[in-house]
Symmetry: C2
Subunit: 242 residues, 2 copies
DNA sequence: TGGGACTAAAATGTCAGACAATTAAACGCG
DNA sequence: CGCGTTTAATTGTCTGACATTTTAGTCCCA
């Protein structure tokens, strides 16, 4: 890790990469303390601010945490699921918004992934998951709910579905896909009639999962996919006309 | 975005957050130039090194790029699919390695996601995708191939499967799941007999996709899942005995 | 001998000013 | 008009310093 060629370009990036590689390769384990900034500066033969910039890069990726004081310093950080979620959501959201991903593509991806969870969720969902789904369905039926709140509840419902598969890796992968869709979903205006259809399908999904009937769940999800796609198309047309 | 309370803690983190929020919310569009470091320092009433640390954080997340020279500066960066892939793979790999995710969980997640792609891939795969799969199958059958190369080829095969769905969002989501599995897969020793079984299933999958028979593809993937899980268990037992 | 307050040290966080390197635009000259 | 030169703007880096935070140790006193 102590290597650093005489490339005069982007010193701080090179240092960050060297340290990052050491962490990823497992040379540095969780909670291990990095050398102090001054020591690193000596090792890499650069100034302290340069080292600091490198450390900030790593901190931005949640790879290290810093702590002040006598026994302080930079420590290799355990990446938690929550942080990984958050990072993935940020990345996915940006990717979708910056690359003009169309509604159809994003929607298709989202529901394809959710349908992958349904069989597992039908097997393993706990009463807790079912209760969450029922609660969100109830919330979605409340009159006067704003479109945004409706979407929030929709996300929470699907999140419960995914979590029901009891596979944290799957939950992590899907968090990005589902939440990143939100800005796109928020462009849709949900009429009462739209909501009734969606609530009906949600109820069918929850029922199917409760009965551990994965075929039914899959069918309802397929219908929900198709219906959401229709709504999206309508919303796009409405936007185009405006 | 110009807000910055008198919290004396973590100035650079606050500044980074302010700018990041401006980008994510869409206040700053792609390729828009940020104020120069000196101007930002004035605006936030901090020194230039502090601003620089904040900018490095953003650069680490691929949110901005910097350019030197007269018309240089920091620009909002378009996040490309490739960069998003890379970021996701890094995050996923770290998450799996740091949180001791067991083989079973990761494997289940990976194949569940792949099975979600199979129906779409059966519909849309191009001759190119099929050719890639066939080529990788051929490579896997070569005698004397190291375990690591075999895994590489396996990843390439599945990558082609996923890309066949012709949905970049799906490809992006799955890249992390599949590639992050590699360190775990690399712990397995693939005997010739193991390889033969896997190659047989790969061939079945490729055949099914060529015939646009998604049911067959799904079945073969299910068998591959089960078989990979078995191999994983054996590898874990072998490790435990050692 | 024990405990509490004080001090010192180590580390990060921040600042100020300076210089180098790079790039593009402005300028001037043939 | 075109091409080379200068110049200005901007990032990249360095040096040195001070502020802040936290821990460890020391010293004094009961």
């Amino acid at each position: 890790m102590k290597i650093d060629p005489k490339n005069k370009a982007d010193l701080s990036a090179q240092i960050a990469k060297a340290i990052r590689d050491a962490i990823i390769s497992g040379d540095m384990i969780v909670d291990e303390r990095l050398p102090s900034e001054s020591e690193l500066a000596d090792q890499f033969d650069v100034s302290r601010p340069t080292v600091r910039e490198a450390l900030k890069r790593l901190a931005a990726q949640n790879l290290i945490r810093t702590q002040r004081g006598a026994t302080g310093g930079a420590f290799v950080r355990r990446l938690s699921y929550d942080e990984a979620y958050a990072q993935q959501i940020t990345t996915s959201t940006l990717l979708l918004s910056m690359n003009a991903v169309d509604f159809e593509t994003a929607c298709e991806a989202r529901f394809a992934l959710e349908r992958a969870c349904a069989p597992l969720s039908a097997q393993r969902r706990t009463p807790d998951h079912l209760a969450t789904m029922r609660a969100e369905i109830h919330r979605q039926a409340q009159p006067g709910l704003s479109d945004e709140r409706f979407c929030d509840s929709d996300v929470a419902f699907h999140r419960a579905l995914v979590d029901g598969a009891n596979n944290p890796v799957l939950s992590y992968q899907l968090a990005g896909a589902v939440e990143a869709m939100q800005p796109l979903m928020n462009m849709i205006t949900f009429t009462q009639r739209n909501r009734d259809v969606i609530i009906g399908l949600h109820t069918r999904i929850a029922d199917a999962l409760e009965m551990q009937n994965s075929a039914d769940a899959d069918e309802a999800l397929a219908e929900l996919t198709a219906y959401t796609l229709t709504l999206g198309e309508e919303a796009m047309e409405a936007r185009a006309r405006r």
